[in-house]
Amino acid sequence: MKTRSPFTDLIAFFGALAIALAPYWRWLVFCLVLLIVLPLPFLVKNFFVFQLTLAMIYAIAILGLNLLTGFNGQFSLGHSAFYAIGAYTAAILMDQYGVAYYWTLPIAGIVCFGAGFLFGLPALRLEGIYLALATFALAVAMPQILKLSPIEHWTGGVQGIVIIKPNAPFGLPLNPDRWLYYFTLAVTLVLFLCAYNLVSSRTGRAMKAIRDNAIAANAMGINLSLYKSLTFGVSAFYTGVAGALGGIVVQFVAPDSFTFALSVALFVGLVVGGVGSIAGALFGAWFVLFVPNIAEHVSKGLAGAVYGIMLILLIYLMPSGLAGLVRLVVMRFAKAAR
């Protein structure tokens, strides 16, 4: 007769627990993440809090790009332009009209929605590489437009605009960095939840149908031009809100912070996190923000090369992003369990 050691009992217990909790795993992961991120600002240095805030902001922007590319199949190398529009909207509203920082977010979002929708209309005729080029043109043109002398009065020209960092409201015992961290965290949670609901709704299914087969989707009665430009608008909305937050957190907007390099960073984040995965955007943001720093630590002179090699290795390791890898691992385990 086999003797049952307490160890096998323990395994059996956890096995049963895992099976019982399996349907709620999303909520469990969510609570676990909250447990980690809520006390975090009090455990690390102020500068790191600032970087974490920035990572969340990038995650929102990458999520916006993901809605467009991952769920609707439209390329964009021009999201730095929408980020810039968002940041400048917030900065001008705060600097010139004294609008409170929290009101600038929805306004920036709506302005960007309009810009994205309008840009999406001519983009309807373009596909793949041609769309990539058109959006790329937008990204390259944006810093130049912002520097333009006729609108210098609002944009501050090359110098840009300096913003004052908001303090915590209601006399909360938080320094501005920590307050902005929680503020950004709240915005991030709301936006990610909205994105999650959007892609699992009827509209989301239409978006995905267009990505998978536009002709078939059209035959099923989906209005291609409406959905494609709407998706462009929503994507720009997300990126615009991220831009506004970014402007507030960095306390400074200038044309040369929003070059094509930003678009490339967002794109790398999208691929690394996983195209068509909402949670992947978080990992992507972490990668584009922290890996260049790590590369710089490894070697000052060859920072670019180290970054590039890390990116290459990551793509070898997980060709369809972190989300793809997780999906693969889960499938393997599910197979083994059966």
């Binding site: 590319t69 001519p122 005729r125 373009l126 596909e127 590489i129 041609y130 990539a132 080029l133 058109a134 790329f136 043109a137 390259v140 043109a141 130049q144 437009i145 520097k147 333009l148 002398s149 006729p150 002709i215 490339v264 794109f267 790398v268 999208l270 691929v271 690394v272 195209v275 002179g301 060859l302 920072a303 670019g304 090369a305 180290v306 970054y307 590039g308 090699i309 990116l311 290459i312 793509i315 070898y316 060709p319 369809s320």
Partner: protein, 292 residues
Amino acid sequence: MELFLHQVLAGIATGGIYACMALAIVMIYQAIDHLNFAQGEMAMFSTFIAWQLIQWEVPYWAAFFMTLAISFAGGYLIERLIMRPIHNAPILSHVALFIALFAVINSLAGFIWEYQIKSFPTPFGTHSLLGEGLISGHDAGMVGVTVAMLVFLFLFFRYTRIGLAMRAAAANPESARLVGIRVEWMLALGWGMAASIGAIAGMLIAPVVFLEPNMMGSILLYGFAGAVVGGLTSPGGAVVGGVLVGVIENLAGTFIPYIGRELKLSIALALIVFVLTVKPSGLFGRSVVHRV
């Protein structure tokens, strides 16, 4: 009118640079069916190799052809070592890989040769041929070499077996494999050729913009623009497109008052977007028909 003509000529001179780059871009697009974002950096690296050879007192033309050979080998190796392993990954991963290559090559060049601006010799001389300094000997030579390269490529793809095989491998890998074409070899060959053409472009451009690791940044942008305006399936179109971008950029800078000079690049790009919305496959490109 005088001013207009001058500006057009000056535009053709800068357009020659873009045409060179656009040709290299279209070339690799034909061979591998992707736009290579690292193309400009590869060309820059090749140009540095040529510069190094010339520093070691190799004669110009010997250095020129040695660089072509080295670049060919380099392009071939990049395909074999880096692109091959993720052949089946989604297209977006390929683009990210190009971006990674861009970072690696740029940083390596800066590490080896440093960031000071270096001058690069020209075999065509810098005396001016037409008007006062409008078109120099080098500009004319650059356009001449680009056209010669174009003719060579046309003949190669049109009339040689290996050219045909390369086109087949890019257009339809499955069927090409079935008729006995070694698709992998063709892809690697395409990379090698594209690297060599890029090297020629780099060596022609370097005397004008000077040699440094970031020299290709804006040129690559214009090159892409030219290639897409002309049509990515047509090498001739790429050259015309490149020149056109140069001319439009120059004219917009001169004749549109007030904002023209500041928005030179933006206007050129806006025009491109306009061309694309009217004729999505570019001016000279074939429109690709998909089977449903």
